[in-house]
């Protein structure tokens, strides 16, 4: 059993390695453009409402805590606690997505979605109208991929919860809980970086 636990968690870590590179590629491209057009990017950060970002960060951190406690409960064979913590984790995960949804809606209303038809208006800082599009594309791309990961995470959590309900886990076998916990924490970490990069930097409208 120990061997299997080991293989599974190690396998998850290797998978997270690919996830790091996956988001790393996005962060890399984002950083290049940020360094090319610092003022344009500062102007877009200034548009963002960091309260949303901060609130969502807090929500995710709580869900990470409850996830860690869920894993702990599984380890200690506290079946009821495991289920409750999983439910709380999923609840906060959903909260995150709902808040994100409101935010996306706000961007849509504000004409900050540079898609085909051009739901796009950047009269606040017309000199950056071109380059700001790139940031918004990256904003939607990065937060969108993060949201997809959240949705996948919720799916995994549902499965784990059902398994927990059926009493599949015990102190000697709770590998799936541990492994999906790792995934959940990773998604949290991605957001920990997205928050300052997308919302905070340049918030004071400083230029250089």
């Amino acid at each position: 059993m120990g061997q299997q636990f080991d293989s599974a968690t190690f396998g998850m870590w290797v998978f997270l390695l690919t996830e790091i590179m996956f988001f790393g590629g996005m962060f890399g491209a984002y950083t290049v453009y940020r360094s090319m057009y610092p003022e344009a990017f500062a102007s877009t950060s200034a548009y963002m409402n960091p309260l949303y970002g901060a609130l969502n960060t807090a929500v995710l951190i709580v869900s990470s805590l409850t996830m860690a406690l869920a894993v702990r409960s599984a380890h200690l064979d506290k079946q009821k606690a495991l289920q409750i913590f999983l439910l709380i984790t999923m609840f906060f995960g959903l909260c995150f997505l709902v808040i994100k949804g409101f935010e996306y809606h706000e961007h849509w209303v504000d004409m900050k979605v540079p898609l085909i038809g051009g739901h796009w208006n950047y009269s606040e800082a017309p000199q950056f109208a071109h380059q700001a599009q790139i940031l918004f594309i990256f904003y939607f791309f990065m937060t969108g991929f993060h949201a997809i990961h959240m949705i996948v995470g919720l799916g995994i959590m549902t499965t784990i919860f059902i398994m927990a309900r059926k009493g599949r886990f015990s102190p000697i076998y709770y590998t799936p809980v541990e492994v999906s916990g790792l995934y959940w924490h990773f998604v949290d970490i991605v957001w920990i970086f997205l928050f300052p990069l997308l919302y905070l930097i340049g918030h004071t409208r400083t230029i250089l």
Binding site: T18, M21, F22, G25, V32, H130, Q131, Q133, I137, F138
Partner: protein, 544 residues
Amino acid sequence: MSTAIQEPQQTTETVNYLNAEYGWKSWLFTTDHKRIALLYLISISVMFALGGVFAMLIRLELLTPQGDMVTSDTYNKLFTMHGVVMVFFFLVPSIPATLGNFLVPMMIGAKDLAFPRINLLSWYIYIAGALFAVASILMGGVDTGWTFYTPFSTTYSNTFVITAAVGVFISGFSSILTGLNFIVTIHKMRAPGMTWGRLPLFVWAHYATSLIQVLGTPVVAITLALLALERGFHIGIFDPAIGGDPILFQHMFWFYSHPAVYIMILPGMGVISEIITCFSRKGLFGYWFVAGSSLGIAIVGFLVWGHHLFVTGMSMYAGLYFSLMSMLVAVPSAIKVFNWTATMYRGSITYQTPMLYAFGFIGLFTIGGLTGLFLATLGIDVHLTDTYFVIAHFHYVMVGGMVVAYLGGLHFWWPKITGKMYPEGWGKFSALLVFVGFNVTFFPQFILGYLGQPRRYHAYAPEFQVLNVMSTAGASILAVGYVIPLIYFIWSLRYGKPAGDNPWGAKGLEWTTQSPPTTFNFDQTPIVTEEAYAYSKKPEVEVG
């Protein structure tokens, strides 16, 4: 082969992984790494044939300088699909997903890979990716070149770029899952006594390959996702009109695609280490250097991608750095070649087909590697890049190196995989054809490249014709050299002589079980007590 005359034709066939279960379900839902390897073998052979047909059409078109056989659009689609199919759907999965899948667990004394179901999943993902690629061909093809450079691919091409990009994106995950599986398997599933210092070099090579797959592939996935989004939604990520930078695409693309050539060649090097030791009956000279050089290539290979960008307007200083690193990555490759050569010193050498392929590999890979240095040299690369010199160089490494190693490995382990021998005479003959055909095809292209014939040209200047005709002639020899093994391998399934457990007298755990192996490879978990390639001692693998 003289030893292969075994007991009377087997009337009572032993139970093995091939006949343990019957029916298509037993194949499509199998979690046996050996069966999955065969599924992969069939799929990549189909893709190889497809890519080969495209290659033949390209060569036929280039017989005349006017470009009169197919239209320029068709020609552009041909070389694009040749590249996409060969690179992403044949070369990347070729050795790891077939021979690697089959042999890595056996070589380390394991029953299967760490995650058998993920292994099967990776094959299905591969098939899904391949279906997208084939769909893009059937719908009318793609004409961007396998490199998908923006802004041509995002804005100007009128072909099915998104379909092809999605295919490549999907197949990337199959590659990641294979790599992940190998890493965990090699770390966690080694038999008792199988220390890192006793691993066969084939396994070391696959470990290094897997690292690249896991670390590099996600970046190309994200790059192609950005490309597909930009094309699909007309949002400008790499679009110069709103301040995007097409060169950033090239950085991101080559961050994976350069290390990817090491994904393709490293497993081939692993195969060669196995073949050379077996047919020289001798341990590998400088085991740790060859093992370490695999890791060295995997790591330094990630630091050199910029040598594809020397003439794009990249910073000169970045050019200096990438050039220096590209020189550095040649050192571990050179170490391998020298050690293989030294292994033969005072050996006991025979010239069976796999060994002939190994000789061919060393020769062709040496030329491929040395000409790589030309391209890493800044001042020369300015003239040579995007000419036929580049084509010749990477075909020397990819076809002369990788495909030759793959064929060598296939001949070497065919008896283990199927329990049957291939016809040795035909094997030698086709190995010779491949070697000769290959050189006649691609050597003239070095000269063409220095003369300045640009790659991806549908029509070319008339003075280049003689060399192009030579190249096409060579390609037809090469094609025959590929078709013959295909025929005799299939023939041998039914008519081949039974191989016995260890026809070559080779070392390694995979040769200690029956051929073909049982579903769980070993009756009992083997205990390893000696180094890899202990040819000079009595066999000491105990079964306990």
